[in-house]
């Protein structure tokens, strides 16, 4: 069409300005509502009901569509649609950071907005400097290495061929302990072998060389942060925490609604097989569960059922040897149900992997000495498990774990679905256990919500089930104890492909495919732990994944799916229950100690990673009173230090962790509880470090974290101790309790309701006692942290506890520090349970209390053990507060009304009294006057003034009221002007037309009228009017005034002109009133609207002249001081009033520079002024300057002579600037130049004016004869 260089103006559509492009282009479609034309709606051109209905229905449809489209058309950015738990704060707008499904949209939006998409400088595909690609190098290297190896292999092969000896490909070796024992196996198996994980597929093999993946590993790696590849935990790759935000969600799911599941396949299982007595002896040798109240070996109740195989038992296992055996780990022991015809029994010991090896060594050693021998088997990679917690756990499991075959009514399979309504595992019998084979959950996918029967019958049967627990009698032997069954189940699991095929071909659409004979029967064992309130499922290792997937896909009845957790969530759940979790909170065990050492290294590494300015310098921590530096290792719960200090002979090199460990003992909480309650202890208990777990709750503020130091109250410093104790709020609470007790008996006697209410109101309204409370942290008198000998332990887990709504901690204390003297041990009093917690690196200690965990875990009330000293909340009856508030408000309002009415009444009465008196007095005076005038000639004695009205009696200056002035005096008379007052306003609210024939006092009642002030004047609105308009208005008003109503200013004249009917005016100021103000310098009255402008001129602080004046001022200071000494130079040199300048020949001032034109005019003025007579001058001043009042005064006094006038003016302290200027000049003239022809007296007078307010005595005396 045209060449690009043509300078022709381009058409409007050709090149749209890119800047004008709309940012969020609206979709035109959204606002175009489709309609049908009449011809299509009525095709035959005839009206009929059917078409009519159709057209209206179409209209409804199209409008609904339009509304939907409009809603969709609202601009919503991609990152706004990111689910809540995936939202991020930094780079939230970055399209590469949004979830995959939104990424395309985000990219599109960013492109539309012309937003540059920043790419990170790390990761793949982009990169740093020349290298570009971080992994490039590594990949290159590995490729090279592979090529090298290949070449070498080929060479070797060639060599081998030469030698004639073939060799297989290189196999990746497992460095598990089992491989080391491989040769021993062949000869004679002396000990049981440790299990080796199954060789993974080759592509995963290298990644599992020194660790094992959980069966759900791949699922988890997509959704969770795992342990680092180089740092596996307990030889497993364990999920640490979900990738999404999970802290609060986990808390909710585990306690309120939903469920949290963990893949616990890393928990080790040891199988014991042998005669029952041998197994029992083995467990007894390991002191199984010696710390619990229940004896597991008794032949009744729970213990019997456990040994029968229908319950499970949780307890600690201990080392075999030692006077006081050392705890290994908490374990779960499950027996298999006795099978007929077989004397052998089986039992599983489930133990945390960190303590596995220790236990394993113990077990195999004891198993060997048993007769008949116990076969020990390591089932670590054969049995996996899933643990699930939360109210929705039971329904989830009931839906997913579908029994593979139905059986008789009391079997676990039959009862299982009825347990779906269990929300708290505490309702089930302790250690309840179910075992039955399940079908593959993948066949029943997607899982459906389990049916929870709500009718009464099923409720009753459910209660019966829980109470009777018929499973105890009907539980058959579980197949999970049978190795063959486990392997068979794992082997017979169909592939996902075949399951998909079955689902698509068999069964109806949407139905689960019918079960087949060949379906796998997955052996499953499920038990409920009361301690951890969780359900645990044992499954063959390979079958964990299908069940896990099923659980994660289950639709909970409360909405959503079960969540999954990592190690962090596990610890969180335990922490929120204030229960110690193994191994983290058991530093006295070997496993816990190992964890502690590991954590120390991690913390230290974290610290060293930080730049120097951003990490705590431990050595500078000032603990007050001369102590400097952190106690012990700041990254550690430094138990060694406690050991060192105590036993002086225990030589510690600091490196011998083993030694420290051996001197530590984890003490069961039951023993701790008993001892602390007062059980006498043997002194050897104090020889080694006994740790026991406690729960710490803060008294005031502060959040304890891991490694926080715990001190007892100072024992040797009573002053400090009392200072710390004063921080306890105990005194306050006890007084409150006392107050409660005091009120208790009074409430027994029925008090009148009113008094009760009054008392309550008083107590509520009472201002809170200004208590000089305990010092706050950071204040001067906040107590310092105790010395190191008061250290009793360390916090192992601490945080803000969501379950309790306050910070708590799980800590370990050392027994011998808690109990100082072993001889007269009486148990701890309450004061001893108070401790001081100081976080590592802090200088401020916080007061806290500690308590041992409650005895039975089923009781979910952590406050129970705290004792009943918590003050109970005051219970108010329902609605009491409402009632109370209403009463208080009502009485308040009544009081206000009452006092208002009273004061109103009183003023009114006083006014009437006054007016009665006034009227009586005026009457008396009138009476007196008339006779006196009459009798002046007759010269009689002056009669006493006396008068009597119907309201008052006037007698010689005293007035006596007759009765109630409110009744007797109908109107109020002003005591000053003796005129009646108007009772009602003349306009606005409550207006009444006054009697116009009468004259009223000027004090009118205030007017209440919108747009008017209290005088009834409209608010000034005509300020913007021009002067002309204002004058016109004024004239009009004047004209109107002349016709009807007088202005307040003309009151006097009105009074004189009164012709019977007094005109009323509204009083106050006119509407167009603008206030005026007197200039402080020249004393002129000016409208305030012009005042500022005037001041500028008058004070000479603006205009062209001002700068010159200022200059003159500055230069004149050291210059001419020829005049009167105290005359300010500025006053002479400042902008002079016209006429004042040229009074004498002062060339200097003229030279100072007024513009020539001005000079001319001034000169003309001056000439005139010089020739002026005083009269003339006076006339001039009158015309413009003199204040109105002065003018009036002058007008009144008349003008007898010129001198007199001048004198009046000059004598006036408000004399004007011009005069003063003039007089000043004259004064100077009188000094320097010969006086002109002016009269002498005048001159003197003028000098008075100049002298200012205190007139000098001599001129006055001189002047006054002149005046007179």
């Amino acid at each position: 069409m045209s060449d690009p260089n043509s300078k022709k103006r381009k058409g409007p559509g050709e090149a749209p300005n890119p800047a004008k492009r709309p940012r969020f282009p609206q979709r035109a479609q959204a606002y175009q509502i489709s309609t049908t034309p009449t011809t299509t709606a009525y095709p035959d051109g005839e009206i009929n009901v059917k078409s009519f209905l159709n057209s209206h229905q179409n209209e409804i449809k199209s409008l609904e569509n339009a509304m939907r489209a409009a809603k969709k058309g609202l601009s919503r950015r991609a990152f706004q649609d990111v689910p809540r738990e995936l939202r991020r704060r930094t780079a939230s707008h970055n399209p590469r950071r949004v979830p995959n499904r939104l990424r395309a949209r985000a990219h599109h939006e960013a492109k539309e907005d012309n937003t540059p998409i920043s790419r990170g400088t790390s990761g793949s595909g982009i990169g740093k400097e020349k290298k570009k690609w971080l992994r490039k190098e590594g990949i290159e290297k590995s490729r090279k290495g592979w090529e090298d190896r290949k070449r070498r292999r080929e060479e070797k092969k060639r060599d081998d061929k030469d030698t004639g000896e073939a060799m297989e490909g290189v196999e990746v070796e497992k460095d598990t302990p089992a491989t080391t024992k491989q040769p021993a196996k062949k000869a004679k198996r002396k000990f049981a072998l440790l299990a080796t994980p199954e060789t993974p597929p080759s592509r995963f093999r290298r990644r599992q060389r020194d660790k094992t993946w959980l069966p759900t590993h791949i699922w988890h790696t997509k959704r969770a942060r795992m342990t680092l590849p180089t740092e596996p935990l307990w030889r497993f790759a364990i999920p640490l925490a979900p990738a999404v935000k999970a802290y609060r969600l986990t808390h909710r799911a585990a306690t309120m609604r939903g469920a949290v599941a963990w893949d616990m396949s890393y928990v080790s299982t040891i199988s014991l097989e042998g005669v029952e007595t041998s197994i029992v002896r083995l467990l007894k040798a390991l002191h199984f569960s010696q710390e619990t109240e229940d004896d597991p070996w008794q032949e009744r109740g729970k213990a019997k059922k456990w040994k029968k195989g229908t319950r499970m038992w949780e307890g600690w296992l201990y080392e075999r040897e030692g006077k006081e055996p050392k705890g290994v780990a908490p374990v779960t022991v499950i027996w298999s149900v006795t099978e007929e015809g077989s004397t052998k029994r089986k039992a599983f010991i489930r133990i945390h992997p960190c303590a596995f090896l220790q236990l394993w060594n113990e077990v195999i050693r004891i198993a060997k000495v048993q007769k008949p021998a116990v076969t020990v088997e390591d089932l670590r990679f054969e049995i996996g498990s899933i643990e699930i917690m939360g109210p929705g756990a039971a329904e989830t499991l009931c839906s997913i774990l579908h029994p593979s075959s139905a059986s008789e009514s009391s079997s676990p399979q039959a009862l299982w679905p009825s347990l779906a309504s269990v929300t708290d595992p505490g309702v089930l019998p302790p250690g309840a256990l179910l075992a039955f084979p399940i079908s593959d959950p993948r066949l029943r996918d997607p899982p459906r919500a389990s049916q929870i029967a709500q009718d009464a019958e099923s409720q009753v049967s459910f209660m019966e089930t829980i109470a009777m627990w018929p499973i105890d009698g009907s539980q058959p032997a579980s197949a999970i104890f049978d190795r063959n069954a486990r392997l068979a189940a794992a082997r017979s699991l169909p592939s996902q492909k075949s399951i998909n095929r079955r689902k698509s071909t068999e069964g109806d659409f949407g139905e689960y495919p019918p079960s087949q004979q060949t379906d796998p029967q997955i052996p499953m064992l499920l038990y409920v732990s009361q301690k951890s309130k969780s359900w645990t499922i044992l499954l063959p290792w390979k079958c964990v994944m299908p069940v896990w997937r099923g659980i994660m896909r289950y639709p909970l009845s409360t909405g959503g799916n079960p969540r999954f957790g990592g190690l962090k969530e596990r610890r969180q759940v335990y922490f929120e229950r204030s229960v110690p979790s193994f191994p983290f909170d058991y530093p006295g065990c070997e496993a816990g100690w190992g964890w502690e050492l590991q954590e120390r290294a991690v913390r230290e590494h974290e610290w060293t990673k930080r730049p120097k300015g951003k990490r705590i310098e431990w050595s500078t921590i000032d603990l007050d009173s001369g102590r400097k530096g952190e106690l012990g290792d700041p990254w550690a719960c430094d138990w060694e230090r406690l050991v060192q200090k105590e036993g002086g002979d225990v030589s510690m090199n600091g490196t011998e962790d083993r030694t420290t460990q051996s001197s530590l003992r984890q003490w069961p909480s039951r023993d701790a509880r008993e001892v602390l309650a007062g059980r006498p202890i043997s002194p050897e208990y104090l020889s080694i470090l006994h740790l026991f777990t406690v729960k710490i709750s803060m008294v005031q503020r502060g959040t304890p974290t891991t490694c926080a130091r715990i001190y007892r109250l100072p024992t040797n410093n009573t002053e400090l101790r009392s200072k710390w104790l004063s921080l306890l709020p105990s005194a306050n609470s006890s007084s409150r309790k006392m107050a409660e007790r005091k009120t208790q008996p009074t409430s027994d006697q029925p008090l009148p309701e009113q008094i009760q209410r009054r008392d309550l109101a008083r107590s509520l309204l009472e201002p809170p006692l200004v208590r000089n409370g305990p010092p706050k942290a950071g204040e001067e008198d906040y107590p310092v942290v105790p010395d190191e000998e008061e250290l009793i332990g360390f916090v192992t887990t601490g945080n803000y506890n969501l379950a309790e709504g306050m910070p708590t901690a799980v800590a370990n204390l050392v027994l011998h520090r808690v109990i100082e003297k072993s001889d007269d041990w009486k148990g701890l009093d309450k004061e001893r349970r108070v401790c001081i917690v100081r976080e590592a690196g802090r200088t401020i200690g916080r007061l806290a209390t500690w308590e041992t965990p409650p005895a039975t875990m089923s009781e979910d009330n952590p406050a129970d053990s705290a004792g009943g000293d918590a003050p109970e909340a005051i219970a108010l009856a329902q609605g009491a507060l409402e009632e109370l508030t209403r009463d208080i408000l009502e009485s308040c309002i009544q009081n206000i009304i009452h006092s208002t009415a009273i004061s109103c009444h009183r003023t009114e009465k006083q006014l009437r009294m006054q007016s009665a008196a006034t009227s009586a007095e005026s009457l008396a005076l009138a009476n007196l006057e008339l006779p006196s005038q009459k009798n002046s000639q007759s010269n009689t004695q002056p009669s006493l003034p006396k008068a009597e009205t119907d309201a008052a009696l006037y007698e010689n200056g005293r007035v006596f009221l007759k009765g109630n002035p409110l009744k007797t005096t109908p109107e109020i008379i002003c005591p000053h002007c003796k005129l009646p007052r108007l009772m009602h306003p003349m306009m606005g609210k409550g207006m009444q037309q006054p009697d116009l024939t009468r004259e009223y006092c000027m004090l009118y009642p205030w007017v209440q009228r919108p747009g008017h002030d209290v005088y009834g004047n409209p608010f000034p609105t005509d300020m913007t009017k021009t002067k002309k308009e204002r004058e016109l208005l004024k004239q009009q008003q004047k004209a109107a005034d002349n016709q009807s109503v007088g202005t307040p200013g003309s009151q006097d004249t009105d009074m004189n002109a009164g012709d019977g009917t007094h005109k009323l005016n509204t009083g106050g100021k006119p509407a167009s009133y603008i206030p005026w103000h007197t200039c402080p310098k020249c004393k002129r009255s000016l409208l305030i609207t012009r005042f500022a402008h005037h001041l500028d001129k008058c004070l000479g602080i603006s205009g062209r002249q001002s700068s010159r004046n200022a200059m003159a001022k500055i230069s004149g200071v050291n210059g001419n001081s020829s005049g009167v000494g105290n005359t300010p130079i500025g006053s002479r040199l400042g902008t002079p009033a016209p006429g004042s300048q040229g009074d004498g020949p002062i060339p200097k001032s003229k030279a100072k520079g007024i513009s020539p034109v001005k000079n001319l005019r001034d000169n003309a003025d001056d000439d005139e002024g010089e020739n002026d007579t005083p009269e003339k001058k006076k006339k001039k001043t009158k015309s413009s300057y003199v204040k109105k009042a002065d003018r009036e005064k002058m007008a009144k006094e008349g003008t007898p002579s010129g001198t007199l006038k001048v004198k009046l003016k000059t004598g006036n302290p408000n004399s004007e600037r011009r005069d003063s200027n003039m007089s000043e000049k004259r004064d100077r003239e009188s000094e320097s130049i010969d006086p002109e022809g002016a009269p002498k007296a005048k001159k003197i007078k003028l000098s008075i004016g100049k002298a200012g307010s205190p007139p000098a005595p001599t001129p006055t005396t001189q002047g006054s004869p002149g005046a007179s």
Partner: protein, 187 residues
């Protein structure tokens, strides 16, 4: 920033006699004829023009200047004779008045009509909802009519009118009586 404020008038065109678009059958209920369709020749642009002219006639150039700022037919369905008209918030009454005073369809048709403003709303959504609500009501009534029932609304109106008539008659009678009394007293 302040956005331009509008009002949306939901408008129905009613046909007291008959619509030019459609031949009216005999058995068709009155209601259906009343809400008859409008010929396709009346399109949105024409409607705007008519309204603008009407405003000019009633309010002069000032009116046109004021009301024309955002005047637009946002929705016009001839088959149901319903429209949503957008106009400036300050001057929607001008538009309303013009609509009310329109008695005929634009030129070629010239059929007598009544334009009824059924709703004034501040958002188009509420206007649309109102149209939907009314359409549903109309559909329901039409269905009932088709089923052979009597039109409840019309019936009730008729009844009310009858009742009023009777009351009025009674009132008049009473007045007369009173007059009689007065007369008799005065006599």
């Amino acid at each position: 920033m302040v956005r331009v404020k509008n009002r949306y008038l939901v408008v129905n065109i009613l046909y007291p006699t008959s619509s030019p678009a459609i031949k009216s059958g005999d058995g068709v209920p009155e209601m259906v004829q009343f809400y008859a369709p409008t010929p396709d020749s009346v399109h949105a642009g024409q409607l705007v023009r008519v309204i603008r002219d009407g405003i000019g006639e009633l309010f002069g150039d000032y009116g046109i200047g004021m009301a024309n700022r955002t005047l637009k037919i946002t929705y016009w369905s001839p088959s149901t004779s319903t429209a949503i008209i957008r106009c400036p918030r300050e001057h929607y009454e001008m538009v309303w008045a013009t609509l009310t005073l329109m008695t005929k369809l634009p030129h070629p048709n010239n059929t007598p009509i009544v334009i009824k403003v059924v709703r004034v709303s501040g958002t188009i959504r509420k206007a649309e909802e109102e149209v939907i609500r009314r359409a549903k009501g109309i559909v329901k009534r039409a269905k009932e009519l088709e089923a052979g029932k009597k039109d409840v609304m019309v019936e009730s109106v008729v009844q009310a009118v009858d009742k009023r008539g009777e009351e009025a008659r009674e009132d008049v009678l009473a007045d007369v009586d009173m007059d009689d009394v007065d007369e008799s007293e005065s006599d």
